[in-house]
């Protein structure tokens, strides 16, 4: 590996097939179709930097996912970066809506985000506990804890994917659509990595089926018991985290170790 600016250029060059073909091409297709639909309905496409950034960020997250068959990049991104790229459109939209005097829809959007994110954070920490890393490329390790955490991720996602019924400009619709596909692929990636099935095809089919099941389950449970569902799930995940931290403590990895040794 050479050092210096060449390294950066080389990485950008190697990323081109990911951006334009697979999986970025898929995102671009979704984006183009959404924009095309708006155009055919005769909607005015308002071009502004916030809208462009809102479309580009989830697209990039989608392109960087290490799905099967992607071109190799030697630098991975981690779960936290991918998640914040995927969620950027929502934050921008909430801020913008509020600025333009639509505080009701902004508050609804923010409430959806804030209700979903604690569980995603807990699930991400659990995933990191199970796999020993937050890097997307390193998450494929079948384990009970990993599967539990990935399922919790999917359950939390069922709330986050919900769109408040506000009417959106074409660009923001496109950003939502790209974000949606990115989230689905990311959650399937997490589930496929942890499912203990022998073949790649089997893992992905299983992951998609499980994801649909969990999304439907999360949605219907949330309909039935409201916010108590989120609170319960959070509590459950916190408990799981506590147990896994205790396991780390007694198994002796991490900062807790030397503390245990001391006593």
């Amino acid at each position: 590996m050479t050092d210096g600016p060449i390294e950066l250029l080389a990485l950008l060059g190697r990323a081109a097939p990911r951006l334009l073909l697979w999986p970025g091409g898929l995102g671009l297709l979704v984006l183009a179709l959404t924009l095309l639909r708006a155009w055919r309905r005769g909607e005015l496409l308002r071009l502004e930097l916030a809208g462009l950034a809102a479309c580009a960020a989830p697209l990039l997250a989608l392109a960087l996912l290490p799905l099967p068959g992607v071109a190799a990049l030697d630098r991975d991104v981690d779960l936290f970066t991918a998640l914040s790229l995927l969620e950027l459109p929502r934050w921008l939209r909430a801020g913008r809506g509020w600025q333009q005097g639509e505080s009701r829809s902004s508050a609804a959007l923010l409430a959806i985000e804030l209700n979903g994110l604690p569980m995603l954070a807990l699930a991400a920490v659990l995933i990191a506990q199970a796999a020993g890393s937050l890097n997307l490329g390193a998450l494929a390790s079948p384990s009970m804890l990993g599967l539990l955490a990935a399922s919790a991720w999917a359950l939390a996602l069922s709330g986050l994917l919900y769109t408040s019924g506000a009417r959106l400009d074409a660009f923001w619709q496109a950003a939502e659509a790209t974000r949606f596909s990115g989230h689905i692929l990311l959650a399937s990636l997490l589930l496929a990595g942890t499912l203990p099935l022998p073949t790649l095809l089997g893992r992905w089919a299983g992951a998609l089926a499980l994801l649909v099941l969990l999304l439907v389950l999360g949605h219907s449970l949330r309909r039935r018991i409201g916010l108590r569902f989120d609170a319960l799930l959070c509590l459950f995940l916190g408990l799981a985290l506590l147990l896994s931290a205790a396991a780390t403590f007694f198994a002796g990895t991490g900062l807790y170790v030397s503390f245990a040794d001391n006593n």
């Binding site: 990039l60 921008l92 505080s103 954070a121 990191a128 890097n135 900062l255 503390f259």
Partner: protein, 481 residues
């Protein structure tokens, strides 16, 4: 007056630029001028704090603090303690003298609307209470204990012998009390968060120079500082008064930076140092509620929150999460995450809280995207020199032209953010989307009118009602989407 401030700013900026190479210059060996008894010594940690103090001075002068002379007083104080090997003693004495002097001034009875108050500026109407003397006194006590066990000087070979639980508890208590008193009601008003922030991190981090910490100390410090950070950010969310909210927000950011410093690994130290840098930007935004002139566009506010990838607070949160994950303490990761999320949300959505100028936002993005270079330049020397006191649980890896990674004790990558590459790819994608949109006939449209009349209180009341963990969440009212 304006000319004097401009002069002060130019001077501070020149000093800052001149000090930037300092950490690299002292990387191999601390700088000791050949004076009798060697009263001065500058190592990586001191050099970093010199840069930090000067950056704070520049930012506060640029933000138009009402009293350039206060900056002129406090910045050299910070420089002095960072360069003196007796730092705990010097800091304790300096702070005690400053606070004592201010107390004496108060007993002179500053009448209403006096010049005194105008000098301090900002929304303060209270001068320091005697509680402010406590942290400097604790530091003095700690340095006396160090002397009793070994030596006053941290660079003496005997220094490590004096490090015991009592010293640690005193220094930690001083840091906790100092940070906990960080509110806008503090003596120097809005200046304190900016300029005295490093004062509470320095003594604690300096303890690594004396030797490794006992593991119980790590956990105690993590517990206390984590509680302080989490509690402050939750309290900030519920604060009605925007002054109180501002102080709590600054406190939670500073406490979370200190928390990372207590992880005791080089990853944690890097995260803490970068956290202090990013804290300066946030504190600069908080330091002025209103800027004269037309208000800048609101979207800019998001650039100072962790919500926007590659902004400085984002990189600070990322470093914190990754360092916590690398050291195997998931609870720390959750605290960092919560503090980042709530702080960002408050900064972005409470207009009365802070003014984010375009320059500050640009600085935040620059510091975030160029974080590999910044860390390499300023932070790596201090990590290398404090290595003796650090644990192997978490290590920072820098690819100067790509980004950052965190390694765990087995040298596996725990988290990676190729910040420069991500920024480049994002730019490429924005262009592609732009071309695609132009192809479909999109038009640049003039921005709609800004309706600034919306009620902030309503937004927050709604959020409190509809988010289950913000307190008072009532599941019955919002059943089902």
């Amino acid at each position: 007056m304006a000319r004097r401030r401009l002069l002060a700013l130019a001077l501070a900026l020149a000093l800052l630029l001149a000090s930037l190479p300092l950490p690299q210059l002292v990387r191999d060996a601390p700088w000791r001028p050949a004076l009798p008894r060697q009263p001065l010594a500058l190592d990586g940690l001191s050099a970093f704090f010199v840069v930090l103090a000067l950056a704070g001075a520049c930012l506060s002068l640029a933000r138009g603090v009402p009293a350039p002379w206060v900056v002129a007083l406090v910045a050299p104080l910070l420089l002095a303690y960072a360069a003196v090997p007796l730092s705990l003693t010097a800091l304790g004495l300096g702070l005690a003298a400053t606070v004592g002097w201010m107390l004496a001034r108060r007993s002179d009875a500053a009448p209403e609307g006096s010049e005194w108050r105008a000098w301090l500026g900002g929304p303060i109407d209270r001068l320091p209470g005697p509680g402010w003397l406590l942290p400097p006194l604790l530091l003095l006590a700690a340095s006396w204990l160090l002397r009793a066990g070994g030596s006053w000087r941290y660079d003496s070979p005997l220094a490590g012998a004096g490090l015991n639980a009592a010293v640690f508890v005193l220094v930690l208590a001083a840091a906790l009390l100092g940070v906990a008193q960080l509110t806008p009601r503090a003596p120097l008003g809005p200046l304190v968060p900016l300029l005295l922030a490093p004062a509470w991190a320095y003594p604690l981090l300096r303890l690594y120079a004396l030797g490794p910490w006992n593991n119980g100390w790590h956990l105690a410090a993590l517990l206390l500082l984590g509680t302080l950070a989490a509690w402050s950010s939750l309290a900030a969310l519920n604060a009605r008064d925007s002054d109180a909210c501002r102080g709590l927000l600054a406190r939670s950011a500073l406490a979370s930076a200190l928390l990372l410093g207590c992880l005791g690994s080089s990853a944690g130290l890097a995260a803490a140092s970068y956290g202090l840098l990013s804290y300066l930007l946030v504190a600069a935004a908080l330091s002025r509620p209103q800027l004269p002139g037309p208000p800048p566009r609101d979207e800019i506010r998001w650039l100072l929150t962790p919500a926007v990838p590659l902004s400085a607070p984002f990189v600070a949160s990322w470093l914190g999460l990754a360092a916590a994950a690398a050291s195997g303490t998931p609870t720390t990761a959750l605290v960092i995450w919560m503090v980042g999320l709530l702080g960002g949300l408050l900064l972005a959505l409470r207009r009365s809280l802070a003014t984010v100028s375009a320059g500050l936002a640009a600085l935040s993005m620059l510091a975030g995207i160029a974080s590999p270079a910044l860390l390499q330049l300023l932070v790596v020397p201090l990590i290398e020199q404090l290595q003796g006191g650090l644990s192997p649980f978490g290590e920072l890896q820098i690819w100067p032209w790509l980004g950052l990674a965190m390694l765990d004790s087995g040298r596996r990558e725990v988290a990676t953010v190729p910040s420069l590459a991500v920024a480049g790819l994002l730019l490429v994608l924005i262009v592609i989307v732009y071309l695609l949109a132009r192809l479909l006939g999109a038009q640049p449209v003039a921005e709609g009118t800004d309706a600034q009349t919306e009620d902030e209180a309503e937004l927050w009341a709604r959020l409190r009602r509809e988010v289950f963990w913000l307190g008072g969440g009532d599941g019955e009212q919002t059943r089902g989407p």
